[in-house]
């Protein structure tokens, strides 16, 4: 029997494996499968890449669109899918190889991690609005559960808080879905896009705002992102790395995908999102200055980068969009390095607080070196990947002759340097009484090293991949092509 | 051979002139104060006496080399100042140098000596050096500004060319550029260690000054170089403002009249503290200089 290589596996495989988990426990295959699933998905994505670059793959489930449900893998969503699989691979490899906390290695963690991957893949791929809601809830529920996995008071608190705010977001989004259906009578995104202009103006605004609040909360945009630091701080750093690595990216992608697909003229909405992005970036970077918990600091830093990406995507020019997508990928790699390093440091020194980590760089030189690398990359210093994508974004703004985002981005980077370099300085603090470091599994460094290697590689040779992102940007921005791919050339 | 003889002649001339001028100064000073004062040769005798002292106390090698550096500096300075114009003699190596170089050569020696003072280990000596450098900092600004005005006027830094341009009394620097002369005059007195700017080496309540540790032959060396340096500076000013000199008698006459002028000014003012001196240099001569720059540089360029 041969299984056709289709995008549906991105959702189906993790779902199936997750629900069959009791079997894997018995067969002692839990860890290999946890790492193997994203690995297989990554291979699948790579295998599909040549086809995707020619034309978007539309996978129909049962009935053809616009009536049925379909998954659509184009150049833009491919980037996200590959990113999700790759991030999942590195994070799970860290859990396995790093011999980490037992609660990350049991069956529940296995289920929720795979569900999270399935949910995010589904969100990115689906061409159906209600399916989007379903996948949004799947990834949401698994994320709430992952946050609470440790089952001590902070973890449960994080899970509860996440659940409360996440449910509200879901309600808002559901409300928007309901209104859309009532107005258009369609759920297929392409069909909605065709009919959206026919909705009365005030209703468009209401739907838009409902979606903005719903997805804005999930995509961590200011002023809907006040929950983020608490949740990142309460969750295990690896889980937080997944949130920052692909969960929020998936939501952000969905948000902009909807904007560019539904609106014939995304200018106004784009300007709103640019404003929100700029506010997110600046506020988060400023607040990060006073953080003394590494996870919380990284959370704010992550917010800042999300704001930058929103700023870039909202502008809607090809160069900024390509740069924004590239920055998404780069930020994922960087935050993975930083959060996994934070996990190593936390395991070594039990605490993630600034005061307790003073001098840690001399006890854990490798971890500290990775932290420095990640910090340099996140600030956009060459020759690391953060620089390449930031340059691309800024170049896009400069080409268009718009300079206020350039000024804000550079200001934010300067503020960011203010706290990252404080952490670096403290990590290398000369201290007579070095903190006692608990042993960590050396293999745990392997996934970090892979990500770090990519950070350097993409920084030195971004021309290896820049075509992918240009095609992704074109796919994201070209509304007509997206519609005709689903509905046929005549529409 | 010519160069060697010429150099020796220059050194000799400046030596003799220096001691005679300062001998005159002592006597003149005494007469003004209604004393008889020493003979005009007294300085020369003192100097000879120092040179033939049999005992000299030193504080380490640098203490010995400092006076040698300052003496070599004095010789070099003298050799780079042209004494006469339109003559082959008493030129030294001045065609290889220029005005700015001479100004800087004037301070090479004192800095070399400062090393010796430092190595003596006497804090009062070092205090004197610091005072000297402070005074230098004060006087150099208006001094150099005045020189710059001269250089700008003649569009050259070569002393020869400046001298050559002053071919008649009407073209003397003091006539064509009186502001520059006024600006330079007081700092010049300061650079000659003259009153009222002579606190550096002067007796105060505890003896402090660069020479506090020196004695014997080393003190003789210091004395000699000071006389020669003074003459070098006098001749330089003669070259710049009084049209230079065509023969040695004119040179002595012009230098002496300039010396007399500075001596007279020195005598009527009470001594200033170092900080007061610096402040004075930065207010009066420098203010005059700024005014001069505005008048001679800015205004013509605006009206043009």
């Amino acid at each position: 029997m041969t299984l056709p290589l289709t995008p549906v596996w991105f959702v189906a495989l993790p779902l199936l494996l997750a629900f069959a988990s009791p079997l894997w426990v018995r067969l002692r295959l839990l860890m290999p499968l946890l790492v193997g699933t994203p690995a297989v998905l990554l291979l699948l994505a790579l295998a599909l890449l040549p086809e995707v670059r020619i034309a978007p793959l539309v996978e129909t489930i049962v009935i053809a669109p616009p009536l049925g449900i379909h998954l659509q893998l184009d150049s833009a969503s491919w980037i996200l899918v590959a990113l999700i699989s790759f991030t999942g691979l590195l994070a799970t490899a860290f859990i396995w190889l790093g011999d980490g906390e037992s609660y990350l290695r049991d069956r529940r963690a296995f289920i929720f991690l795979l569900l999270l991957i399935a949910g995010c893949n589904g969100m990115v791929l689906t061409g159906d609005l209600f399916n989007l809601y379903v996948f949004l809830e799947i990834s949401g529920v698994s994320a709430y559960a992952l946050s609470a996995l440790r089952r001590d008071a902070p973890a449960l608190e994080a899970g509860l808080k996440y659940l409360l705010i996440g449910s509200v977001a879901a309600v808002f989004f559901l409300f928007a879905v309901v209104l859309v259906y009532l107005q258009i009578g369609q759920l297929n995104l392409a069909a909605i896009a065709e009919g959206f202009a026919g909705i009365p103006g005030p209703m468009q605004i209401l739907i838009g705002l409902l979606m903005l609040v719903g997805l804005g909360i999930k995509a961590e945009l200011f002023p809907f992102n006040f929950w983020v630091p608490d949740i990142y701080q309460g969750s295990h750093p690896v889980v937080a790395g997944l949130y920052s690595g692909f969960l929020v990216k998936a939501f952000l992608f969905v948000l902009f995908h909807l904007v560019f697909l539904l609106l014939a003229d995304p200018g106004v909405a784009g300007a709103w999102l640019m404003g929100l992005g700029a506010a997110t970036m600046l506020v988060a970077e400023v607040v990060a200055l006073r953080q003394d918990d590494m996870r919380r600091m990284l959370a704010y830093s992550s917010l800042g980068q999300i704001g930058l990406i929103a700023l870039a995507l909202g502008f809607g020019a090809e160069a900024t969009t390509a740069g924004g997508l590239f920055h998404m990928a780069n930020h994922t790699l960087i935050k993975l390095v930083l959060f996994l390093t934070a996990a190593v440091l936390m395991r070594s020194f039990v605490s993630a607080r600034l005061a307790d980590l003073a001098g840690a760089g001399r006890a854990r030189p490798l971890a500290a070196a990775f932290f420095v690398l990640g910090a340099l990359a996140v600030m956009g210093l060459p020759p690391l990947n953060g620089f390449a994508s930031k340059l691309w974004i800024l170049k896009g703004f400069a080409e268009a002759g718009v300079f206020w985002p350039v000024a804000l981005v550079l200001l934010a980077a300067l503020i960011e340097a203010g706290y990252y370099f404080r952490w670096i300085k403290v990590l290398y603090e000369p201290r007579a009484d070095l903190p006692e470091a608990r042993a960590v599994e050396r293999w745990g460094y392997a996934p970090i090293a892979v990500a770090a290697g990519l950070i350097v590689l993409l920084g030195v040779a971004p021309f290896l991949v820049d075509d992918l992102f240009i095609e992704g940007a074109q796919a994201l921005l070209d509304r007509g092509a997206a519609l005709s791919a689903v509905l046929g050339a005549g529409s | 051979m010519h160069a060697v003889v010429d150099s020796l002649a220059m050194i000799g001339v400046s030596y003799v002139m220096g001691f005679l001028f300062y001998g005159f100064y002592r006597q003149f000073n005494a007469r003004v104060q209604r004393r008889w004062g020493p003979t005009i040769w007294q300085n020369l005798f003192d100097n000879m006496k120092f040179f033939f002292k049999s005992e000299t106390l030193i504080h380490g090698p640098m203490f010995f080399f400092g006076p040698m550096i300052i003496m070599a500096g004095a010789f070099t300075t003298v050799l780079f100042v042209p004494f006469l114009k339109d003559s082959d003699w008493l030129q030294g190596f001045s065609q290889y140098g220029n005005l700015i170089l001479i100004i800087y050569l004037l301070v090479v020696g004192p800095l070399g000596n400062a090393l010796a003072v430092g190595s003596s280990g006497n804090p009062f000596g070092v205090m004197g050096v610091t005072r000297g450098l402070t005074r230098l900092m004060g006087l150099e600004v208006p001094f150099f500004l005045g020189l710059a005005m001269v250089m700008l006027q003649h569009e050259t830094a070569s002393v020869h060319a400046i001298m050559a341009a002053q071919d008649s009394l009407a073209h003397w620097g003091i006539v064509t550029n009186p502001i520059a002369f006024c600006v330079i005059l007081l700092p010049f007195i300061g650079s000659q260690h003259g009153a009222p700017f002579d606190v550096v080496g002067a007796p105060v309540e505890v003896y402090a000054g660069p020479r506090v540790e020196f004695g014997g032959r080393l003190l003789g060396v210091l004395m000699t170089q000071r006389m020669m340096m003074s003459i070098a500076k006098l001749v330089l000013l003669v070259d710049l403002f009084l049209g230079g000199a065509t023969n040695i008698l004119v040179l002595i006459a012009k230098a002496f009249s300039l010396f007399l002028l500075t001596t007279v000014i020195s005598m009527v003012f009470p001594r200033l503290k170092t900080e007061q001196a610096v402040d004075f240099f930065w207010k009066v001569p420098l203010g005059l200089g700024v005014l001069g720059v505005i008048l001679t540089v800015w205004l013509p360029s605006w009206s043009a």
Binding site: L156, G159, R290 | -
Partner: protein
């Protein structure tokens, strides 16, 4: 007597009004109550109001259930089946979220003895 309710406009108006009231009750519970379970119930109420709104507005008076059976052989005068299917799905999802929330709340209560939203203060900005 209630015949005016057969007018779709009136009925839909009542549905909108009712569900909005329900929505705001839920929102009030979510924002003002301090017990975790009450807050969760507030969320459930909000979700419920959205379901009701969906079903209510997607159906007009006189439409029957979209099921073919004896005598009903064509899809005329039937309600649109999609909202109902969607609502069912949404209810299942909402239930899952609610269950997870309640279980977390119970665990939190067991661990700390507290069930107050305001007592979730372990994670906060540094002073």
């Amino acid at each position: 007597m209630l015949a005016f309710l057969n007018d779709p406009g009136v009925l839909h108006g009542i549905v909108v009004l009712g569900t909005l009231i329900l929505f705001f009750i839920g929102l009030y519970g979510l924002l003002a109550k301090r017990h975790l379970l009450k807050v969760l119930i507030g969320i459930a109420l909000m979700e419920l109001s959205v379901y009701l709104l969906f079903i209510g507005l997607a159906t007009s008076p006189g439409e029957t259930a979209p099921i073919l059976s004896d005598g009903l052989r064509s899809f005329t005068h039937m309600a649109d089946p999609v909202p109902q299917a969607l609502t069912l799905t949404a209810i299942v999802i909402g239930l899952a979220v609610l269950a997870l929330g309640v279980s977390l709340a119970i665990q939190y209560h067991r661990l700390t003895g507290r069930a107050d939203v305001a007592s979730l203060t372990e994670l906060k900005e540094p002073r």
